[in-house]
């Protein structure tokens, strides 16, 4: 221990990681280990370390939060207040006018945000449902069946995700314009489904692999059909994985810009991220309106993520990472 104490000075953060983190972090039965260093002679160093970590965490969290919060704060200020550079945090007059404007309730006949919101919602939800249905079938097939070229097909599927949206948008734009799919919700939905299928397959495949095959087999022996065994045994167990895949798919569709900005034109199809561009003119930008719209875009995503935050992490760790 004394040796570690010496090196603490050299590498405080790491020393703290290695020395005083109870194994498994939050496991309650092991958390008693956290008190152990108190008996050590280098108490001041440990204390210093603990506070050092706290300060670092605080600073890091501030850096993470502030840019977003600043924009949200500005959504409640008038354009004049923003342009006049009122003091940043001091309580200036806050107003809901921006939101009224954005929803066309104020004096200005604004940008049809309500329509954009509905478009975004319809496109995101529909494409998520379809992508998850397809991804469920694909992921289940990859997890449960053995067939030729399985690995090749899987890698091929993943590589299709490596094509950046903007590179895809040119050829898709041309083909969609032949098919008459430009500026239709269906056209955008099809593209988003394709964008989300590979990742959904990947995540869902990972989750099904975690569930022992024998469970479904036992159900089949008990007289279930394969189909029943799937719905009654395997599906409920993979639910949280499927949910996290759905959230990823929804967020991707909700936030997508590069493809939507080319494939949608009118009020009937434009999504919220594309609508954001309506606030910029050649030389002027309606900052207040943009901030308000930013809040409108972010709120559903935030609520959704906070509710399912646990699943999100589980989804990332179990579905994707474990080999």
């Amino acid at each position: 221990m004394t040796q570690s104490a010496l090196t603490l000075d050299r590498n405080p953060a790491l020393a703290r990681t290695l020395e005083t983190t109870p194994p498994g972090g939050a496991l309650p039965e092991l958390s008693g280990l956290d008190d152990e260093p108190v008996k050590e002679p280098w108490l001041p160093a440990a204390l210093l370390m603990r506070w050092g970590v706290r300060v670092c965490v605080f600073i890091a969290m501030c850096l993470i939060m502030l840019p977003g919060l600043w924009v949200m704060l500005n959504a409640f200020r008038t354009n004049v207040a923003i342009l006049a550079r009122d003091s940043i945090f001091a309580a200036t007059s806050y107003t809901l006018d921006n939101f009224r404007d954005v929803f066309g309730m104020g004096d200005t006949a604004g940008i049809p945000v309500k329509a954009y919101f509905v478009n975004s919602l319809v496109i995101s939800v529909t494409s998520t449902v379809i992508a998850i249905a397809i991804g469920l079938a694909g992921g289940y097939a990859f997890a449960r069946y053995k067939f030729r070229f399985k690995k090749t097909l899987f890698v091929g599927l993943m590589l299709s995700r490596a094509v950046p949206g903007i590179a895809l948008s040119l050829p898709v734009f041309i083909i969609w314009s032949w098919l008459g799919l430009i500026d239709t919700k269906v056209g955008t939905i099809i593209v988003y489904v394709a964008m989300n299928v590979p990742f959904s397959v990947w995540l869902i495949d990972g989750f099904f692999r975690q569930i022992p095959k024998e469970l479904a087999e036992a159900a089949e022996i008990d007289g279930c059909t394969r189909w029943q065994a799937f719905w009654q045994v395997e599906f409920p167990m993979a639910k949280s994985g499927i949910a996290s895949a759905a959230i990823f798919a929804f967020l991707t569709a909700w936030n997508e810009f590069a493809l939507a900005s080319q494939l949608t034109r009118s009020t009937d199809t434009k999504t919220l991220p594309v609508g954001l561009m309506d606030f910029t003119a050649q030389f002027t930008i309606n900052w207040a309106g943009m901030c308000a719209l930013a809040v409108i875009i972010i709120i559903p995503a935030l609520i959704l993520t906070f509710i399912v935050q646990k699943h999100l992490i589980a989804g990332l760790t179990f579905g994707g990472v474990k080999g």
């Binding site: 194994p23 972090g25 079938a137 094509v163 394709a194 972010i298």
Partner: protein, 300 residues
């Protein structure tokens, strides 16, 4: 329909996924490969049959604008991915230390991930605005900087601002994956290292880090899968300006395709962009497999 029934169940299950990918990704990509050999212009549809073979590519590779954009893209991705990895690792190590309120910290940590890249672009454009942005505001009020710094107008600063936006947006992906890795890590090897008299740095370097490497590369693979996201940010923040100094391949090809309507040329360029991002993905995927194999060998 009869043909469908004859297929084995796994093929029937996989069919929808591959049909969708074929229709929306594979066919358009093949088509764009074809048009990249033609002088196709959207305004003159008949030019799609005018095959010019490698003329577009020769023009492309002879264009200094393209090579600058290409180099800038590679530089941007390398810098951004590495910094995100470092910050993500630091953040994960920090949060892993905290025993109380860790769930809340994790939630805060993921906050930027919820922001759509286009929003991040707008938000940082606002923050770095030389006139009303908060960055200059703070510099002037608290640090006594007298002149307004033109963050988005001066070319190096613009590049820096773009990198800031991209890093802010995506560090969370690394942090969350690495944190998951830290939490999944078995403690016995660490204990053993301590008993053997390893310094904390040695234990980190030879025990923790090798264990984390697969997680690092998974994060790199995931991120390189959506490298094109930087398009949104660049498009909003600088739109390739000032004077093309922040032009990346994606913004350049979008400009050639939609503004100049030179689809053939633009498709040639986006084909290069696709190959570039596939190269990034394959590179990280191979590293991932190598690091996994290394771990398995140690285990065995």
């Amino acid at each position: 329909m009869k043909l469908l029934r004859k297929l084995p169940p796994e093929a029937r299950l996989l069919l929808p996924a591959f049909v969708v990918i074929l229709v929306v990704v594979a066919v358009p990509l093949l088509f764009s490969l074809y048009t990249s050999f033609t002088s196709y212009r959207l305004v003159r549809p008949e030019t799609i049959w005018n095959v010019v073979w490698f003329k577009n590519y020769i023009k492309l590779f002879g264009s200094s604008d393209f090579w600058w954009a290409f180099g800038r893209t590679v530089l941007f991705l390398t810098v951004v991915l590495n910094l995100e990895m470092l910050f993500g690792l630091a953040l994960a190590l920090l949060v892993n230390q905290v025993t109380r309120g860790q769930r809340m910290l994790r939630t805060i940590m993921m906050f930027p991930m919820m922001f759509s890249p286009v929003l991040v672009g707008f938000q940082f454009k606002f923050m770095f605005n030389d006139n009303i942005g908060i960055v200059n505001h703070i510099l002037q009020n608290w640090f006594g900087v007298t002149q307004a710094i033109p963050w988005l107008v001066e070319s190096h600063l613009a590049f820096f601002s773009l990198a800031c936006a991209e890093i802010w947006n995506s560090t969370a992906v690394f942090a969350i994956l690495l944190l998951a890795g830290l939490m999944a890590m078995p403690q016995d090897p660490l204990e053993a290292a301590r008993v053997d008299g390893c310094t904390p740095w040695q234990a980190f370097r030879h025990v923790t880090l090798p264990f984390l490497m697969p997680f690092v590369y998974i994060a790199m693979t995931i991120r390189s899968l959506d490298v094109g996201r930087a398009f949104d940010i660049v498009k909003i923040m600088t739109n390739g300006g000032p004077a093309g100094r922040t032009e990346l391949i994606w913004t350049l090809s979008a400009r050639a395709g939609y503004e100049d309507a030179r689809m053939g040329y633009a498709n040639a360029m986006s084909y290069v962009a696709v190959l570039l991002s596939i190269a990034f993905t394959v590179h990280f995927f191979r590293k991932l497999n190598a690091s996994r194999q290394f771990l398995n060998e140690v285990d065995a």
